[in-house]
């Protein structure tokens, strides 16, 4: 089964969703991301959905789950690139994606993640706060 590739960029993980995912693939992504956040000590996750024409309640829940799990692991999640028609449909559907930050594109998303990581305070690799 194909899995969606995850990229490590600095302290963050970048996921670009480009296929029409069936549910199993979405769940696999969720699991992969969670594991990778831990193993790579990522401070944030950037999910690029600019290629998605459809975001239904299952994908919406997946995004929410990823954000919730990431937060427990001390990482922020930003979803970027939502298409206007998808946004309009999600609002109509009643999905609000609580707890998920959004940005227009990867650049802005990275800015958001860096700002959030900065707010959380600089830490060295042992997780201790720098003085």
């Amino acid at each position: 089964m194909d899995r969606i590739p995850l990229l490590k960029i600095g302290d963050f993980l970048l996921v670009t969703v480009q296929v029409d995912m069936h549910d199993r693939l979405a769940v696999a992504l969720q699991d992969d991301l969670t594991e990778r956040i831990v193993t790579s000590r990522a401070r944030g996750v950037l999910i690029d959905i600019s290629a998605l024409d459809i975001v239904d309640s299952f994908i919406g829940r997946m995004l929410g789950n990823i954000a919730a799990m990431a937060r427990i692991l001390d990482a922020e999640t930003v979803v970027v690139g939502m298409q206007p028609s998808v946004a309009i449909t999600l609002v109509e559907l009643g999905l609000s994606l609580p707890g998920i930050r959004t940005a227009l594109n990867i650049d802005r998303g990275m800015d958001l993640l860096r700002a959030a990581a900065g707010e959380m305070g600089a830490t060295d690799s042992d997780g201790r706060e720098a003085v």
Partner: protein, 135 residues
């Protein structure tokens, strides 16, 4: 009202949900729906197709192009022989979930469509129809 053309697809596995989305998309484009309307009906189809697979034990989707006094539209019907829905009203209210989540699916599909109808009885399966007319 006449049916200009119709087709059916099985809904047995997750891959069928993806196939249903793509099929509905191609007919929606052919019908000439604008991008937002396309997105709405494909999203509604995704919700209902998934329900049929996961909660209905599998079923089918029927796609029809309708012609009714000067307006054309698309009707999607989702049928399954599953356990049926005990309390339809409750199932339609958002947030209601049976674990894997029927929540938002039914109510959402209704909000995304011009017309919505549902028939379901415990033990007698479920049939849901939605229509979107071309503006």
């Amino acid at each position: 009202m006449t049916v200009e053309k119709q087709s059916e697809l099985p809904l047995r596995a997750q891959e069928d949900v993806v196939a249903a989305r793509q099929f509905v998309r191609s007919w929606a484009v052919e019908l000439g729906l604008n991008l937002v309307d396309q997105t709405k009906i494909i999203t509604a189809a995704s919700e209902l197709a998934r329900n049929a697979v996961i909660h209905g034990g599998g079923g089918l989707i029927r796609i029809e192009i309708l012609l009714d006094t000067g307006k054309r539209g698309m009707r999607l019907t989702f049928e399954d022989q599953g356990p049926g829905i005990v309390d339809i009203e409750r199932a339609m209210s958002d947030g209601y979930t049976t674990g894997n989540g029927l929540g938002l699916g039914l109510g959402g599909a209704k909000r995304l469509s011009h017309e919505f109808s549902i028939e379901s009885k415990p033990g007698a399966g479920t049939r849901i129809s939605i229509i979107r007319w071309k503006s």
